[in-house]
Amino acid sequence: MHDVNPSQGHPDAIEQAVRQVLGSLAGDMTMTEATLLSELEALGREVQRAKTEIAALRVDDINASHIPRATDELDAVVEHTANATNEILDVCEGLEAMQSRVPASESEKLGAAVTRIYEACSFQDITGQRISKVVSALKAIEGRVAAVTARFSSGADAPPRPEEAVPVTPVTEGRALANGPQLPASASSQQEIDKLLASFD
C-alpha cells in the first residue's frame, strides 16, 4: 500500500488517505463512512482555500520589508531619545558646574532642579527596554511567518523544513526572570517592594 501522511495537510493527500482507509473496509460504504468522507473532502477544500488566501496576502512582504522596517524605525527611536537625553545631561552637568558661582540660596534651588531632571531622564532606559520587548515580539512574528511561508511553498509532499540550529545558551535564573518593565497596572511600587523586603527580616 502506498504510504500517505495525512498530517502533511494537503487536501489531495487527506482525501487519498481517507479513500484508502475506506476502500480497505469490507463491503459498501455505510452512511456514516460516506458522511465522514464528505466532511473530510470539505475540510480539504477549506485547507486549499486558506492556502490560496495566505498566498494572496503576500506574506513574504512581511518578512522582507514590513518587519525589518518596523524594527529599524524602533531602533531609530531609541537612538534619537538617547541622543536627546545625553544632550539634556550635558546641559545639566553645565548647570551643576555653575552652582558654585551663584548665591547659596539659588545654588540649592539649581541643584534641586538638576536632580529632578536627572530623575526624569531615566525615562530613556524604561522606554528603551519597552521598545526592545516590542522588537523581540516582532522578531518572533517574523519567525512564525517564515515557518508558515516555507511550509506552504515547499509543496505538500515535502517534509517539514528542519529547525535551524540555534546555539544553546544556558538559561540562568537571572535570564529567566528578566522580563523588562511591567505595565503600570501590574508593576509593583517602591513602597510595595520595601514592604516585601521587610517581610524577610
Binding site: N86, T115, E119, I126, T172, E173, L177, Q182, Q190, L197
Partner: protein
C-alpha cells in the same frame, strides 16, 4: 554612623545614559570614586581586580544579568559581604524574592528618585 564616601562604587547597567544619570546622582551624594561596567561579567572582573565598597547593578543585561552577578559575588569568599543594591525595572514579586534569596542588600525599582537612592545607600552602608 557616618558613611565613608571615599569608597569605590561600581555601577552596572547596559544603558550608558543610565550609568551617567546614576553617576551624577552619586556625585551629588558626594560619592566621587565611581566606576562603571555594562554587564555582569565585566562587573565581576572589575570587582575581583579592585577594591569596592558598594555595587549598584541593573538586572536585565547581556550576557550576565544582575541576579547572576549577585550570585557570583555572594559565592566569592572575598566579595560575599559586599553591599549590593539592585536597581531595575523588574518589579515582579518573583524578581524581588529571587534577589532577596540570592542575598541582595536592597532593591530599587526604576524609575526611581534621588531620595530613594540616597535612602537605600545609607541603609545598606550603615548596616554593612
Amino acid at each position: 554612623m557616618a558613611m565613608d564616601k571615599s569608597m569605590n562604587v561600581l555601577i552596572v547597567d547596559d544603558y550608558k545614559t543610565m550609568l551617567r544619570i546614576i553617576r551624577n546622582l552619586l556625585k551629588q551624594l558626594e560619592f566621587d570614586n565611581v566606576e562603571e561596567a555594562t554587564d555582569g561579567a565585566e562587573a565581576l572582573a572589575k570587582l575581583r581586580a579592585g577594591n569596592f565598597g558598594l555595587v549598584i547593578s541593573d538586572w536585565n543585561m547581556e550576557p550576565m544579568t544582575g541576579l547572576d552577578l549577585l550570585k557570583e559575588v555572594r559565592a566569592d569568599a572575598r566579595l560575599k559581604h559586599l553591599p549590593f543594591i539592585m536597581i531595575t525595572a523588574e518589579s515582579k514579586t518573583e524578581n524581588v524574592v529571587a534577589a532577596k534569596q540570592a542575598g541582595v542588600s536592597n532593591y530599587i525599582v526604576k524609575p526611581f528618585n534621588a531620595e530613594t537612592l540616597r535612602e537605600k545607600i545609607e541603609k545598606v552602608l550603615v548596616h554593612a
